[in-house]
């Protein structure tokens, strides 16, 4: 018995797949072992050259060449099976394994060549034919040599279309060598053709409709407004336009990590990185299991990018709300007229379009934080605007606890002691930030799954002065980590309250978008509740389906009402009528609506997707005549500020930034709001010195 030719003498293993290494070693050993005894001794021996290959090795080699090919195997009974050649057995016997094998000729019907009338069973995933059964294996168009391989490779490539998903999902893709395109020499150069549409302000304005009509007499029925929202041009058009342009500039000027976005914005950050043209402009993303542009695949990055763009991208600061928010102006004395609300809303939405939309889109499907305030639980919900499921950022506003008196619903609304604490939190998604007990947890980034979970507000009405307990309604998911924001703006001087430090601490480990320098929010349980002197502020943007209501009526009721995005302060006004804000327009931004005699506060009815709840701090209304204009939104590197209490405002503390002690900066809203106002307050005064923007007023 001639010695086995293989170095690794594996035993008989039926149907074992030819391992790569095994085969290779076999082949190699076969080829190199010139001393091998071969079966067809004389003939093989007569082969010249140093590579005397054993016949067994040859068999194996040839069998290996069949791997992956469609072959037909005939078995003893005459039946023929077709399948994909997968493996052959070991040395002693020659058995075969096929994949996806099916019977194509039944030996029982000898002489009949046809395929069975019925396909009686689906193809076998793995079909083993033992050597005892095997008669022959027939394979066509097998490449056995280098030439053959090259030939096969070529035709293979031609056969398989390289679609994007194939490229991005398959690990092993044959990469082609790309060559730059060089135009033919004999093609005439027509430079004027290239530039004809470059100048948008081209004096010879091209009007396609006009041209068509002249040339062909075709009259157009094109009406732009059929396809896009109608622009309302009114007295504020110019302002709005300016605002919109400003926002656009801001956004367009932001930094981004995304190559393509950067390119659009004209930033040349990647020029030096040696990224080739293909990657810069057109490459199919090669990721793991994702499609083309890579958008889906890396939602985090993309969305974070967006978030960055929307909110600024600094480690220290939470996303900046780049859009302006406006607080609805509450009209004195009562109900906000819905009409004005609507108007404002419309304006808001227009001027704020980009920002709001952006913001909206980033809102995680469910974000909310539970704030525990002693008097009430308010939850900030960051609802999902429209259909965006991946909002990563959200803003929460955390209401400040209200006065003790508030909780009781029985109270009439007369008392102005309503304090609304609001915290706006803009958070980075994906960071679940467990807040310390007193903090609200915001969850961001929840993918739609659990929408509609009502936020329950309120469970705990605590007496003022108590340390706030956290009523966290936690939603799993990433929560905004901008708790510290809240801390920042709040009353520095406030009493106990949230434990900002803890929140800060807990957040530190996360991707910090918080402003480390922001002052922590300290709840001042003694702060007087805010009651706008007039009708409560109107929410700027209608909350789509959020039944956020604010029970403005009940003065006693602490209001933590969530203002949906864009909502300005909507603290319940002590004396005001609860304002009901009808759903103004089918906007995507959350709509808030006030429930006139709303249920006890604290029940946030969250219908559908959570909406950001905007809680305004409670203020002690100074007097009915004080109007504090809406606060301006944060600067780029600040997270949030919120309007805390008039007291604070007047006191010139807390809310005022260190830099601008006379300025009160703060925003109250987030999505959907319109203007942002920068106001100046003289410390100690209760008046607004200056309001740089118009529209909304918040009456404190």
């Amino acid at each position: 018995m001639p010695p086995k030719s293989t170095a690794n003498g594996f035993g008989r293993r039926r149907g074992e797949r030819e391992g790569g290494t095994r085969l290779e070693s076999k082949s190699q050993s076969g080829k190199s072992n010139s001393g091998r005894v071969t079966t067809t001794g004389s003939v093989i021996g007569s082969k010249s050259g140093s590579c005397a290959v054993s016949s067994h090795d040859k068999l194996l080699y040839l069998a290996s060449c069949l791997i992956g090919l469609s072959v037909e195997v005939q078995v003893k009974g005459g039946s023929v099976y077709a399948g994909i050649f997968h493996a052959t057995s070991d040395e002693k016997d020659f058995g075969v394994i096929l994949k996806m094998a099916r019977l194509i000729k039944d030996g029982n019907f000898r002489g009949q060549k046809t395929v069975a009338e019925f396909v009686s069973k689906p193809p076998s995933k793995n079909f083993i034919i033992p050597s005892s059964e095997l008669v022959q294996v027939i394979a066509k168009d097998v490449a056995v040599t280098r030439d053959g391989f090259a030939n096969e490779l070529q035709s293979d490539k031609q056969r398989e279309l390289m679609i994007d998903s194939l490229i991005s999902q398959t690990r092993h893709v044959e990469e082609r060598e790309l060559e730059p395109w060089i135009p033919d020499e004999d093609v005439p150069q027509l430079p004027e053709l290239e530039n004809i549409f470059d100048d948008p302000w081209n004096s010879k304005k091209w009007d396609q409709f006009e041209t068509n009509e002249t040339l062909f007499g075709v009259k157009t029925t094109f009406n732009e407004e059929l396809y896009t929202t109608k622009l309302l041009r009114g007295p504020q058009t110019e302002e709005l336009e300016k605002e919109a342009a400003r926002i656009a500039r801001e956004i367009a000027g932001e930094d981004t990590q995304d190559l393509h976005l950067a390119e659009e914005r004209g930033s040349s950050i990647h020029e030096n990185l040696g990224i080739d043209e293909e990657t810069r402009f057109s490459s199919v993303y090669r990721g793991t299991g994702f499609d083309d542009s890579g958008y889906e695949e890396d939602e985090d990055i993309v969305l974070n990018t967006h978030n960055n763009e929307t909110f600024g991208d600094s480690s220290g600061s939470v996303d900046q709300i780049s859009t302006d928010f406006a607080i609805a102006k509450s009209s004195d004395g009562g109900q906000l007229s819905s009409s004005s609300f609507i108007v404002d809303e419309a304006q808001t939405s227009q001027s704020d379009g980009t920002g709001a939309d952006l913001y909206c889109s980033e809102i995680p499907s469910r974000n909310f934080s539970t704030l525990d305030s002693e008097s009430r639980v308010q939850e900030n919900l960051l609802g999902e605007c429209g259909g965006n499921n991946d909002a990563k950022d959200f803003v929460e506003k955390q209401p400040l606890p209200e006065d003790a008196q508030l909780p009781k619903s029985g109270d009439s609304q007369s008392s102005p002691n309503r304090e609304k604490a609001g915290t706006i939190k803009v958070g980075r998604s994906a960071n679940a930030t467990p807040y310390s007990t007193s903090h609200v947890l915001s969850k961001g980034n929840e993918k739609t799954s659990s929408h509609g979970e009502p936020v329950d507000v309120a469970a705990s009405c605590k007496a003022p002065g108590e340390p706030q307990s956290v009523n966290s309604r936690g939603r799993p998911g990433s929560s905004a980590s901008s708790n510290s924001d809240r801390a920042a703006a709040t009353s520095a001087s406030s009493g106990p309250g949230l434990s900002p430090s803890s929140s800060m601490g807990s957040l530190s480990s996360e991707k910090s978008t918080l402003n480390p320098y922001a002052k922590e929010f300290k709840l001042n349980p003694n702060a007087k509740s805010f009651t706008p002197s007039q009708a409560s502020a109107r929410p700027l943007s209608p909350v789509a389906d959020n039944a956020f209501y604010h029970p403005p009526n009940v003065s006693a009721v602490p209001h933590m009402h969530g203002l949906p995005v864009g909502f300005g302060m909507g603290p319940s006004l002590a004396a005001q009528q609860p304002v009901i804000y009808p759903q103004i327009a089918p906007m995507q931004s959350p709509q808030t609506y006030y429930h006139p005699h709303g249920p006890q506060y604290g029940q946030q009815m969250l219908v559908g997707q959570s909406r950001p709840v905007f809680y305004l701090p409670n203020y002690q209304p100074v007097s009915n005549s004080h109007h504090l204009k809406v606060l301006k939104c944060l600067t780029k590197d600040e997270i949030i500020s919120w309007l805390i209490g008039l007291e604070h405002l007047c006191g010139g503390s807390a809310l005022l930034t260190e830099r601008n002690p006379e300025r009160l900066l703060g925003i109250i809203f987030w999505e959907g709001s319109s203007a942002v106002h920068e106001i100046a307050i003289k410390p100690g005064s209760k008046k607004v010195l200056r309001d740089l923007s118009s529209s909304w007023d918040m009456i404190l």
Partner: protein, 182 residues
């Protein structure tokens, strides 16, 4: 010669040109590429020429009923040109399996050829899949045996109508084609 050819190594010398008859009735000519005595497997390259792509048979020599020697030529396999790229082979296999699986989806199991033809015809313009022996169109309309317009059920009225029409049309075409061929 039937049976073991163990002792007669010369008959199956590499490079031999043979004409072989198998016990199952196959007849073919070819050139011996390899013969492994242990497993008794004979590898034959069909045709008398060696090109980049060849038709190969692996035949169990036990089943050789008869053969005749046609000549002797050189080893058709040049060892210097032989190498194996396993990754490519594996990739090829994966691809083939993927395609086979996709194809398998299109084949109804236990259905008549007629049914399969109808399925194939429908699949040209409509998204169809098999559900046992029922053709499911657009995931809502079901066509069960005997695949007549009357057997169409389900789906919206519009979809149903559409499938019926297409089915009728395809049947007519198949009949016409069948009768013209038959």
């Amino acid at each position: 010669m039937e049976g073991q050819v163990g002792g007669s190594g010369e008959e199956f010398a590499v490079g031999c040109l043979l004409s072989i008859k198998t016990t199952l009735g196959d007849e073919f000519d070819g050139q011996v590429m390899a013969f492994d005595r242990f497993t008794n497997m004979l590898v034959i390259q069909e045709g008398l020429k060696s090109g980049p792509r060849r038709n190969i048979r692996l035949l169990n020599a036990n089943y050789i009923k008869d053969f005749s020697f046609l000549g002797q030529a050189d080893d058709p396999l040049d060892p210097k040109k032989c190498f194996l790229d396993l990754s490519r082979l594996q990739a090829r296999e994966h691809l083939a399996v993927r395609q086979a699986e996709a194809d398998a989806q299109r084949i109804g199991v236990g259905v008549t050829t007629e049914a399969q033809n109808i399925f194939d015809a429908l699949s040209k313009t409509l998204p169809v899949r098999w559900d046992k022996t029922v053709i499911v169109v657009m995931n809502e309309v079901r066509v069960s045996s005997p695949y007549l317009p009357e057997s169409v059920s389900g789906g919206t009225a519009a979809a149903n109508e559409r499938v019926k029409k297409v089915l009728e049309f395809e049947r007519k075409r198949l009949q016409a084609r069948g009768s013209s061929q038959g």
